[in-house]
């Protein structure tokens, strides 16, 4: 019998090399898109988090490289358009992106080059999952990971509409939605996310959310000692907290980090949008492969009705273009 992997406590530790069974599985799912009455899991997994310390990040893009290698994606060789961001935006082939902003501190007149690793924040209250009309296309585990199940995705783009961070991207090739999985496949067998593993300065660390908050507190203390009086943790309450958090030198001004949302919330329209959650309840999720299971159970639900389209339309058009980042997702 194979060993069961243990939950990782830090991405810096060496992962086990022997084959192990996943320590969590479909039985640990707590929310499923377009599905009511998900049975309560038998156990509560320890909440996990990835902590991105922007003040330690050197913008080397090792995280992007590791993400491409692990997920075997193939981003295009694009052009240089006068900036360091490449690819130019998140794409179905690029789940994470270093965003660079040159900010002159008005108090000191000194330049600061703020480099933020953008990607899915794994919200405790995921707007994408709430908005998704396709049963089983988006799931959330009790450890906090929000995962897309492409087999069940219908490519409607509502996840992007529901996302307060403008993260998911729809592939023009297979019409499925893609984003960071928090390396749920690696984490299940006791390894940290690929990006954290590759990060040379340990600006990206991974572990239990409590540990990450404690580590962040130490980092914030250090930053304050170096004159960053407003250093702080970004773990926005508006989405119930996130499982990807930032240490920011200027936590009072998240928008200077390439338009990081100051107070992200799920749009009330998405919150109140009942049309897509009408699908019948779920009996029991077996331990079989998650995609196949969900696909089998929810194959009949892959329909979007007209009023859903209208609601989504209102959502998209009703949003103030100056209200926050709109990086031109391929919706």
């Amino acid at each position: 019998m194979k060993d069961i992997a243990t939950a990782p406590t830090t991405a810096a530790s060496n992962p086990p090399v022997q084959p192990t069974e996943a320590y969590y599985n479909a039985g640990d799912i707590v929310r499923i898109s377009a599905t009511r009455n998900v049975p309560a899991p038998e156990r509560q997994l320890t909440k996990l988090a990835k902590l991105i310390d922007v003040s330690k990040c050197i913008g080397c893009k090792a995280c992007q490289s590791a993400c491409i290698e692990w997920n075997q994606t193939h981003p295009d060789v694009e052009e240089n358009v006068g900036v360091y961001e490449n690819p130019h935006d998140l794409t179905p082939n690029m789940f994470t992106l270093m965003r660079f902003s040159e900010w002159v501190n008005p108090e000191t007149d000194d330049l600061e080059w703020l480099i933020r690793k953008d990607g899915c924040m794994h919200c405790e209250d995921p707007g994408c999952l709430t908005a998704c009309p396709a049963p089983g296309a988006i799931v959330q585990y009790s450890n906090g990971i929000v995962d897309f199940v492409q087999e069940n995705c219908i490519g409607c783009g509502y996840c992007l509409t529901g996302c307060p961070f403008n993260i998911p991207r729809i592939s023009q090739v297979d019409h499925k939605s893609y984003k960071c999985t928090l390396c749920s496949d690696r984490i299940a067998v006791g390894q940290g996310p690929a990006c954290a593993k590759a990060c040379p300065t340990q600006a990206i660390v991974f572990g239990t959310k409590d540990d990450m908050k404690a580590h962040a507190a130490e980092r914030i203390e250090d930053l304050k000692s170096r004159g960053y009086e407003n250093a702080g943790l970004y773990d926005p309450a508006g989405v119930g907290g996130t499982h990807v958090m930032y240490v920011l030198h200027h936590a009072d001004k998240p928008q200077i980090y390439n338009d990081l949302e100051e107070d992200p919330r799920i749009s009330p329209i998405v919150e109140g949008w009942k049309g897509v959650t009408k699908t019948a309840g779920l009996a029991v999720i077996g331990l079989a492969a998650i995609g196949a299971t969900l696909h089998g159970l929810f194959a009949r639900g892959n329909e979007v009705e007209e009023h859903d389209e209208q609601a989504a339309d209102t959502l998209v058009k009703g949003r103030d273009p100056d209200d926050g980042p709109h990086h031109g997702g391929q919706v």
Partner: protein, 810 residues
């Protein structure tokens, strides 16, 4: 590196100047973040650009490319003036008290002895006053006007903060803040590490840049201590190994010298290498030079090297010029003096200045052999790629052989890192296609050449026919065999000359270079590697990462030359009684009988602390603030402008560049002036790529796809250049087209009353690979190198720039 990557965590202050560690050495840079996390260390970046390293720095100061010496001499002046000097260290461990000859001097930017015709100095006055006993004269009070300390004080006097600001463009207040932060580390319990790389070496006075910081570190007492040192971040994996084993044209393994024509015989060669101590009781370890040299000659020619034939000294080539460096080789190619050129792991079409001249040189060869894992620009120099390589293929008669080799991940052996660690590694993959190990290819060539000499004789076949070649498979020497040969072994039973006790039996591997002999009873291919493969096995393959008391020394991890020592000059970490300057950073200490501690002592284990100086490789036993005649361009660093500069040398307007840097006649006319080329350009790496290799990899190509140059918002406005727009950049040597990255990270500077704009030119693109086709800075840079080591001046040159509406056409 004097220290090790892992030791950087021990510092209080990191200064990155002449490098961009976070960007070019991101993995090693983790030790800076460790120092910040565990010691509250601060990071200073001094650079023409606000780099990725600057983005995580505590303090950033801009500087004009090529003006580092003025900054460093200014910092030394500030420390002297403000008593930020580690006095005990300076008095005991440097040559501050040594008296300099009366006829030495400096005026008009030049030291005594300059000969304009020869472009060289007569260095005889650059020396100490020697007493009748043969030892250098000293004044321990440091008051004699001819002592090094007073001479240095006089030399740096001109480098006031205003002078520095005027030359370097560093705002006075920023310069002074950096001085204050640096000055704090003169306290015995504070230290600073200098991390530098090609930002200092790639200048016509690169070696003097590094001297400047080394002198500052000595004055602060930061050499030989944990968290201190002069730390050269080597640019290639194993480039340290390359220099160690003598792939420089004027060196043989272990930093021994290839003889020159002036040294036709063994006796003459040794006569200048006696290295007698210049102070009583000093070690002067280079006195052992003959032991290392004879052991090398025995490794090369075995039984053919005998006492009677002076160890086959006549087999060694004798240089008719100081060095056959790359610049000279391409100059010779252009004069039809080279028929066949081997390019092994080397892409001169992108890495040697003035690409037009490189192309011309390669086109005049009869044959070019390129050994490389990748299909390089060099092996395709003859192929027309439109504007990206606009050559007339039909007119090029060079025969090109492309021999695919394995890459580092496919072979076995030791890679030597910046910290001098020889780390053995094993193949991670099977070589693809027809790729062969370099050793196999070279063995095949050697065996065939030897056979030709055997059959046909020739002018001088002996060095080839007698070369030691005792490998189990002569067709393919194994990495283990080669490593054991470099370590060295006894050729006869060895006994201790003092006690007669047996040391080694014939055939046994030596365990240290202390066992090497000059009587032909030992051999060693590279004396500094002695101890890397002993009778106990392969020391380089050790993987014990225990580190008692978290000192960062890791003595049982791999092997560090020399003698597994992790911090050079570590005796200087303790005072004259042998007690650590800083008890919290203890490295070694004198226990009354011998030196003990966390590192291998860099001194004889029983050498008394108050007698034997810490700098045992120097004849003085101390370090040199005044470097005598060791360097071609001066015993102190003096400000020199780059060969192409927006301003004249303030000391001597007639002086262009480094007055003793070699300049070929044909290149002198290819230098531009600032009226035609008003902007200062500098070249550099980006994290997303490694040199010209990773553009072949689709992942790296996606992360940084296309050649660009970086300019300030002010220059963009002045020239009407849009962010992301296409520009043409040209110099006296050539032109390139690139995208424009317009940034706040480069700001104009004011030098000598003029606004100086900087154009940043990264170096990762060419016409082969997965990324978009582009150019490198070498299409633009001048064909001139450092006066001492001929490293090309890639970091400061002049260009012009304009918007380019269209794609370039050939």
């Amino acid at each position: 590196m004097t220290n090790a990557w892992t030791d950087i965590k021990n510092t209080d202050l990191v200064i990155v100047m002449g490098g961009n560690a976070a960007e070019a050495h991101p993995c090693g840079f983790k030790w800076v973040t460790e120092a910040k996390a565990h010691r509250g260390a601060k990071l200073i970046v001094v650079d023409p650009r606000y780099t990725r390293t600057a983005s995580v720095a505590d303090y950033y100061a801009p500087i004009r490319p090529g003006s580092d010496i003025a900054f460093l001499m200014g910092a030394i002046r500030w420390c002297m003036e403000n008593d930020k000097v580690h006095w005990d260290y300076v008095r005991a461990f440097t040559n501050a008290s040594f008296l300099v000859r009366e006829d030495f001097g400096w005026s008009d930017g030049l030291f005594t002895g300059y000969d304009e015709e020869k472009r060289d100095f007569d260095k005889s006055s650059w020396d100490y006053q020697i007493g009748e006993d043969g030892f250098a004269l000293r004044d321990p009070t440091l008051e004699d006007p001819r002592c090094v300390w007073q001479m240095l004080k006089k030399h740096v006097d001109v480098y006031t903060p205003d002078f520095v600001e005027n030359i370097t463009g560093t705002p006075r207040d920023k310069f002074l803040t950096v001085c204050q932060m640096i000055g704090e580390t003169s306290a015995p319990d504070r230290t600073m590490t200098s991390m530098y790389a090609l930002g200092w070496t790639q200048h016509s006075k690169g070696a003097q840049n590094i001297r400047g910081m080394a002198m500052l570190q000595l004055i602060l007492g930061n050499i030989g201590v944990r968290g201190g040192g002069m730390n050269a971040l080597r640019g290639h994996s194993n480039i340290q190994g390359l220099t160690d084993i003598g792939l420089m044209s004027n060196l043989i393994p272990g930093y021994l010298n290839i003889p020159t024509e002036k040294e036709p015989d063994w006796e003459t060669y040794l006569s200048t290498r006696s290295f007698k101590p210049l102070q009583p009781g000093q070690t002067s370890y280079w006195q052992n030079y003959p032991k290392f040299m004879v052991s090398f000659l025995k490794a090369m020619w075995g039984d053919a090297a005998t006492a009677e034939n002076d160890w086959a000294y006549e087999y060694l080539p004798k240089l008719d010029v100081p060095a056959y460096d790359i610049l000279r080789m391409f100059e010779l190619m252009n004069h039809d003096r080279v028929n066949l050129y081997f390019c092994q792991g080397f892409n001169p079409m992108l890495s040697i200045p003035n690409r037009e001249k490189v192309t011309r040189g390669l086109s005049r060869l009869k044959m070019l052999v390129v050994m490389d894992p990748l299909s390089t620009e060099t092996s395709h120099f003859w192929q027309n790629h439109g504007a990206h390589n606009d050559v007339d293929t039909a007119s090029i008669q060079t025969e090109v052989l492309e021999l695919p080799t394995t890459c580092f991940a496919e072979d076995e052996g030791a890679l030597v890192n910046s910290g001098r660690w020889l780390q053995w590694h094993w193949p991670g993959a099977t070589p693809p296609g027809e790729a062969k190990y370099d050793t196999w290819i070279m063995a095949q060539i050697f065996l065939r050449v030897r056979e030709l000499y055997r059959q046909e004789g020739g002018a001088f076949p002996d060095p080839i026919l007698n070369l030691t070649w005792n490998y189990a498979d002569p067709e393919e020497p194994s990495p283990a065999e080669l490593a054991r040969e470099m370590n060295g072994r006894a050729l006869a039973d060895l006994t201790d000359p003092a006690t007669g006790a047996p040391v080694l039996q014939a055939g046994q591997q030596v365990s240290s270079f202390g066992q090497l002999r000059d009587d032909g009873t030992t051999m060693a291919g590279c004396w500094i590697y002695a101890g890397s493969w002993t009778e106990d096995g392969n020391m380089m393959a050790r993987r014990d990462n225990s580190d008692p008391d978290d000192t960062g020394m890791f003595l049982n991890w791999a092997f560090a030359w020399p003698a597994n020592r992790r911090i050079l000059y570590n005796r200087a970490s303790a005072d004259l009684q042998g007690k650590p300057w800083d008890p919290s950073r203890k490295l070694i200490e004198w226990n009354g009988e011998r030196w003990v501690g966390y590192d291998i002592p860099d001194i004889a284990p029983t050498a008394p602390p108050d007698v034997v100086g810490p700098f045992i490789m120097n004849q003085e036993g101390v370090s040199r603030l005044f470097s005598r005649g060791m360097m071609r361009d001066g015993p102190f660093p003096t400000h020199m402008e780059p060969f192409e500069s927006p301003m004249a040398n303030v000391f001597n307007p007639r002086m262009r560049g480094n007055p003793v840097a070699r300049m070929f006649e044909s290149d002198a006319g290819r230098l531009g002036s600032s009226d035609e080329f008003p902007f200062v350009a500098t070249s550099y790496r980006l994290t997303e790529h490694f040199h010209y290799w990773t553009k072949h990899n689709p992942v790296n190509a996606a992360l940084q796809p296309e050649f660009f140059v970086e300019i300030s918002e002010e220059l963009a406005a002045e020239r009407g250049i849009a962010k992301g727009g296409r520009v043409r950049v040209w110099s006296k040597r050539g032109q390139v087209w690139a995208k424009a990255v317009v940034t706040k990270r480069i700001r104009p500077m004011t030098c000598d009353g003029k606004i100086v704009h900087v154009v940043g030119i990264p170096l990762h693109w060419g016409f082969m690979g997965a990324a978009k086709k582009g150019w490198g800075p070498n299409s633009l840079t001048p064909f001139v190198g450092d006066a001492n080591v001929d490293t090309p001046e890639f970091k400061a040159f002049l260009v012009n720039i304009e918007p380019a509406a269209e794609e370039p056409v050939a």
